[in-house]
Symmetry: C2
């Protein structure tokens, strides 16, 4: 490796340089490089060879300016350090890269102010479109509307609002919960409790409704006392609610939890109190975090296909970008997948594994 001074950055070759070197015009060079049919094969070869040898690489800042597009897509999530969103991002990047796009990632920390800030920064730095899962605080989303006003497609995913007329990619939380509870019923559990999330959060209330519906449809015993609402959706809350319920007059024999984390708390209590899982009590989580697979007993859960969601949202937005059309108002609903592990009675740890 030659040792040139760090500062000495050689000026990049331009079309003009090639043109003068070869004694032809800039436009011929430009056309030759993209194998325009008008150009003589000989010229094409000469130009391409020269470009190759001298490592010509187009100035994309100029290209993009000229065409006013960036080949970037923006992606905003509430929380980056989160298994589900990390998966979404991963899927989005995979598709975007495959099509020659880069992904600019930001997070809102579930705060509206931050979301406005980062979205503004993206609109300015010019992305060609935006994928967003809105913050808990976002209501109207005028800052998001700005993208569409500028002709840039927006896709909402996971956490969405109907106040913004964009395509939406969501997970069928209701059905996921329904299937999960149905599974518990089939396993023979008779008294199924639910540790739910906050009612104002759509995903949470959907799951709760799925739970209720599944009990109803199977003629199962149910009771409002068996539904406990988390506030911060923590491991500790799972522990506390499990304790409260198991010590009550009418203790459940299974728990369907809003989240794997909460389920872990439930398990911690049950083990400590001497219950056998899944023999005495079954436990079902939701989200299928990485940890569900490695804790013991391993945790049955509902996989939300974050990676798939990221892929799908990106495919949709790329199509809109290419068609230069904002005319898509569909809602795409992804089915969840039940992942059955030890905590609901499978013999082996990996009866079903996620895809």
């Amino acid at each position: 490796m030659q040792n040139r001074p760090a500062e000495m950055e050689k000026r990049k070759l331009t079309l003009k340089d090639i043109a003068t070197s070869l004694g032809i015009s800039i436009s011929t060079v430009s056309r030759a490089l993209k194998e325009h049919p008008d150009i003589a094969q000989e010229t094409i070869d000469r130009v391409k060879e020269y470009a190759q040898e001298h490592h010509y690489v187009p100035n994309y800042l100029a290209v993009n300016f000229r065409k006013s597009r960036t080949f970037n897509i923006g992606l905003i999530v509430p929380e980056l350090v989160h298994h589900f969103f990390a998966n979404v991002i991963s899927g989005a990047i995979a598709v975007a890269n495959k099509h020659g796009y880069n992904v600019m990632v930001s997070q809102s920390n579930d705060r509206l102010a931050d979301e406005v800030m980062v979205s503004r920064a993206m609109l300015n730095s010019s992305v060609d479109g935006l994928l967003i899962s809105i913050s808990n605080e976002t209501i109207e989303g005028l800052h998001i509307q700005e993208f569409m006003d500028a002709g840039k497609p927006v896709i909402q995913f996971d956490k969405i609002t109907d106040l913004l007329d964009t395509p939406k990619v969501i997970v069928d939380d209701f059905d996921g919960a329904y299937q999960a509870v149905k599974h518990l019923i089939h396993r023979g559990y008779k008294k199924i409790a639910h540790v739910k999330g906050r009612d104002l959060v759509k995903n949470a209330s959907e799951r709760c409704q799925g739970y209720v519906k599944a009990l109803e449809n199977h003629g199962m015993e149910s009771s409002p006392d068996w539904i406990k609402g988390c506030t911060d959706i923590s491991e500790q809350e799972g522990f506390d609610f499990a304790k409260e319920l198991m010590e009550s007059n009418n203790p459940p024999d299974a728990f369907f939890c809003i989240t794997d984390l909460v389920a872990l708390g439930v398990i911690r209590y049950l083990k400590q109190a001497g219950y056998q899982i899944p023999k005495n009590v079954g436990v079902m989580g939701f989200s299928n975090w990485h940890l569900a697979e490695v804790v013991s007993p391993s945790l049955s859960s509902v996989d939300q296909h974050g990676y798939e969601m990221g892929k799908m949202a990106t495919e949709i937005i790329l199509e809109m970008i290419q068609k230069h059309s904002l005319d898509n108002h569909e809602t795409y609903e992804l089915k969840t997948k039940l992942v059955i592990r030890e905590s609901t009675g499978s013999v082996q740890s990996n009866l079903v594994t996620q895809g």
Copy 2:
């Protein structure tokens, strides 16, 4: 919200528009907008007011083209869906956004071919600099050298190679391991085993050396038989090695594991085999994944400050970008933090918690 047709994207206002509307020249408008001292206050006010009213927003594609910079920084990690890297990204984005930069994220999937592809895409789409944690397969890194050849700073972090002369931000794995093992010794464990990673991976061998050194310095019994090398660094390997060691003639009374995941496998075996943790056997992980806090017994571990690392790397690169200088060849070493939990004998779950 007014209901305009989705396609009708109004052409954005330009400096020229403002100039003709106000009957002054483009450059005056340009200068007025940035409050150039030469311009009369009155003119400034007129221009600014007009701009405000008509929602002028500069065309950043043009600005960036003109100044040939993008206000983007690239970030490539081996694996996005990984607690540590997610934290790094999060920290990087926080700092970048604060300084008006966006972050373009990609992953190499620990494959050289992918890394070359995504780095090329970033160089093309023009980022102003690159943060990278190289893939396992990367040796020379000529594709990364290209950034520096183009005058763009590169910072390596976590997984690095000395073949590339860039600033580096790493974690002091040796010291982290040393402190962890020292802690086990102080807790009274006498026979400490190590489930290590692959020797070719620098971080892994550093940790192993820290382990060896700590035993040495404290005159502890040691044995090559107590060191087991993982290949895929899985939970199952932890389980298997724990079984193998505990069933041997000279079983250890503590495990220092290359990773929290491996530690979980160790714990699973120990519990199943009837050992008490931490009473009979202590277990120490490494990386302080989220799960370390929520499993039971909660797992003592070594925090690598991913968030801090992302922040630091970004601060360094921003400074280089601003100074327009590649003249930085330092290695910044972050200290780890020992997080003591139940698995090594603390009474409460959270004697020390991470920052």
